[in-house]
Symmetry: C2
Subunit: 548 residues, 2 copies
């Protein structure tokens, strides 16, 4: 059996290792057009920022490792020029000596990865405009910064890589500006989550311009400034294009391999393409959503490892099948952590779900143990009560909660299930009821317990449509400082005595700082016979963030 | 409706708050014999250690809070003397003025908590022998230490409280010794996990004596030393009994309320006792295992909050039902975190499960991002492939993994499910394949993929029973430093060429440092036709720990 693999980063090497574990006798060869293999592309922003000191630590394995450990031959600087699925032959060019040769295969695994999206901007080829995709580009960027003593940067795009680079630039003293085409930073998240990131990043001294884009890089050989659609000009000494990636499908496409609706290679659960002996995996292949079952393109190292292993298993006679992804993602931004899994509210509504939405603001552990607040935005389906998606911004323990939610969603968790989880409690790690449990409790109360929620956006819409009474349940000093427009201040303690003067028939919205006392006030009013009472999701804290 | 509650720590106050949320009109009263309410007992070791500076931060709520927020009357220093379930009347004594009165109820919630187990040791009433259970005892201990400038301590017992106190004593400069009756520290865990804790705590300068117990506290009014069963004497200036707790059931028992097999109050899923209008919750009530369905007693603040909420909901007309616990627990020990959920190997074998066991040693994140190793011991049922329990010792991210495992086990996860989880990956948080996923992969390979594991204990037993060949797959320098008794050194790279000289029919054990290369060697031998090859679980690292 001859197994050939094209590409040797995460997916290709995972496929090779798994195939070898299953089968000692197969011939396994990998062709890689780059010079580096099996590296951590996700670590490159930290190399540029200096917290990862040597580039070698990101490339711990070389061809000799794969030969001695796995009896796998890795050929670097070998570009596969074409695939002939009928003859089961590939044509390969040795980039060092220019020679071209063919190889036949029994099974072929395509792991060609993704490439940076380079928008057609005038001046983008100037020699201080870069994109970060791999080890080579990371070294080039870092060397350029050091050689030119770069003190200012402009980053185009605010996905994971853009944000991670912004942190790493800024923490090495480079004045950094981000330009994001969409209305908010981190545009894969809902805008009412992005505002938390924007608030924080401003405090960290990073500038950003949203709803704007670069139309031209101006200057001589080096760009000196970027001209924006808005007419603004932003000067910088280095410019980074971080506008996302797209699957590298040229080779597959020209071989007649089917491309899916997402633009990536279409595969089944065995990672097979339309040719049964050709598999695709990693960033060049399509995934599908655990929740909707629909194809999605969400390239990430963790998924590449997973799909590579599956392709390698299938190619060597195994039965492992892909079960899809949630689109879980996480990034660090100085002390902040931002994470998401499953569907955003936008995505869920676009899928036609009747969404219940909560903004749950809770400390990660008791305040006496140093707890800091996180904001968990949760989206659930009112009809099935299933949890659809989670977005979290916070400081500590965000990775824990997102992974617990991801696990729960994978198993089809309903909102009522979360309260019953027996999560680990001790003061250094959690509150007695974990924020995950509170999230479920609030959603359960909203869907099943008639404790409806209203989001700041929903309040704005409702207030403009008709009669509404808004009750601020906080102490007067807090109300005096700032409050929701049109709100009346009735502190929670006084509500039982005062509520007779309110109109029980009018739509009533209660709120406090974060939601707990607003819910207590809501309970009082509902129990007193008020017809429709809604608690403002995330309280005044979340509301005021939405105003920024 | 009159709802009376006995006890106002975690469960009683949770019950009251939930009942009020459901029902505005009920009369809700709590009787508490102590002076403190709604406090965090779990925070008391950190108050003694000083990282929690003020005792007030552990007692954030008082009776006035419950009155103004929840319209609940809390009577502190009021002891309930008796319950008459037939007449639905309780008799209460005001401990301040000595007066006794009766109150009738519609629903009664018993939340009397637990008390420290005080073994009948001669001299235990000496005035420097304490136990830590609540706010009062925490203040007494801390004041004693300060007033007497205590420089040495002996702790009897090594459960959570004992270990947390050991850390807190030691980090304030108190020379600390632990005496544990069982053969290993943290005796609720398997001994092959406890050895990791013992190794670490020794390095931290804390002494411990296991398989030993105090027979007498000797001295004058103050004990000067403890005499042990072994004949040893341990001097100290303060002595703490941390031998566990037992449910406070005196009141319930004398009222004819049924006590379960665990010694705690027997309840159904509604937290009802044998009297339909009397509920029990928190540390005085029995739980049951999510896994076995059997009653267990596992008092913890998180469960008390949960069962209190359920009792309060049921007493006020709600439908919430208890779904049992996994026995999840966690504690911090300096920089180390120790956690468990579900069944230990000992418990699983006692339940009759055919166990697959792995010791998975992995970094919590990439080494270039500062990753540190954790050891995950996982137990699965070979027959159903269900995950039964997890124990982890490590430094960072242990709380995350235990919560993910707890969530997965709650949903009935099989070992094959873990690899497919879409967990959050970025270098500051995790490796591309999370340790949770690896745990599932190893168990899957062992149960379904013929990649059998053998524990150090299993190896010892097998080696003494018959013929076996043991292959050390590490480089020679590692072998020369230390190796498994009787092992032959064949580095992984040379195995393919050397394996013909080995006997394919003989039981073969492979190992490396932690397990990965041992598994690779195992794969080679299995693929070469070896009949029975087992990989040493956790490799030489875990093996050598078992020898300590």
């Amino acid at each position: 059996m001859k197994i050939l693999i094209i590409g040797s980063v995460a997916a290709g090497t995972s496929a090779a290792a798994k195939a070898r574990r299953n089968d000692e006798s197969s011939e396994i060869k990998i062709y890689e057009k780059d010079s580096h293999i099996s590296y951590s592309a996700c670590g490159t922003p930290y190399y540029i920022g200096g917290s990862v000191e040597s580039i070698e630590s990101l490339t711990p394995r070389n061809a000799a490792f794969f030969k001695s450990k796995h009896n796998v031959d890795v050929f670097i600087r070998h570009e596969v020029l074409s695939v002939n699925p009928t003859e089961k032959i590939i044509s390969v060019k040795n980039l060092d000596d220019g020679n071209t040769f063919t190889k036949n295969y029994d099974k072929l695994i395509i792991a060609t990865g993704a490439k940076s999206i380079i928008p057609p901007i005038d001046g983008i080829d100037k020699n201080n405009v870069f994109s970060l995709r791999n080890i080579t580009s990371a070294v080039i960027i870092k060397n350029y910064i050091n050689a030119n003593n770069v003190k200012s940067a402009l980053i185009v795009g605010s996905g994971f890589i853009g944000m991670e680079l912004a942190e790493n630039f800024s923490s090495t003293g480079i004045e950094t500006t981000i330009v994001e085409m969409k209305e908010h930073l981190s545009p894969k998240m809902d805008s009412d989550v992005s505002v938390y990131i924007e608030d924080y990043i401003s405090k960290k001294g990073i500038s950003f311009l949203t709803g704007d884009s670069v139309t031209r890089f101006s200057g001589g050989e080096k760009a000196e400034y970027a001209e924006l659609k808005s007419g603004k000009k932003v000067s910088a000494e280095i410019f980074i294009i971080a506008a996302g990636v797209k699957p590298e499908i040229t080779l597959a496409s020209s071989a007649g391999i089917e491309i899916g609706t997402t633009g990536a290679i279409k595969v089944n659960k065995k990672m097979q393409t339309n040719f049964g002996d050709i598999y695709a995996c990693g960033d060049c292949a399509e995934s599908y959503s655990v929740i909707t079952g629909k194809p999605i393109y969400h390239p990430l190292g963790s998924t590449a490892n997973k799909t590579g292993r599956i392709a390698g298993d299938q190619a060597s006679g195994g039965q492992l099948e892909f079960r899809g992804i949630l689109g879980t993602g996480i990034f660090k931004l100085f002390d902040m952590t931002i994470a998401q899994t499953g569907l955003t509210e936008n995505e869920a509504r676009a899928e036609g779900y009747d969404c219940e939405v909560v903004h749950n603001i809770k400390p990660d552990k008791p305040e006496y143990a140093g707890g800091k607040e996180m904001m968990i935005k949760a989206v659930a389906d009112r009809k099935t009560q299933r949890l659809l998606g989670i977005q979290i911004v916070g400081y500590e323990g965000v990775d824990k909660r997102i992974d617990v939610f991801a696990t729960a969603i994978t198993f089809g968790a309903k909102v009522t299930d979360l309260f019953h989880l027996d999560l680990a409690y001790a003061p250094p790690f959690s509150t007695t009821k974990d924020p995950v449990m509170y999230t479920g409790m609030i959603l359960d109360n909203a869907i099943n317990g008639k404790r409806k929620l209203i989001t700041p956006a929903g309040l704005k819409e409702t207030a403009s449509n008709g009669k509404i009474q808004i009750i601020d349940s906080r102490v007067s000093s807090q109300y005096d400082k700032a409050h929701v427009e049109g709100a009346e201040n009735i502190p929670h303690e006084k509500l039982r005595d005062c509520c007779d003067k309110l109109n029980k028939e009018t739509l009533t919205v209660t709120y406090c700082n974060k939601g707990v006392t607003g819910n207590a006030a809501q309970n009082i009013l509902i129990n007193k016979g008020f017809k429709d009472v809604r608690n403002l999701s995330g309280g005044h804290k979340n509301y005021s963030m939405s105003k920024k």
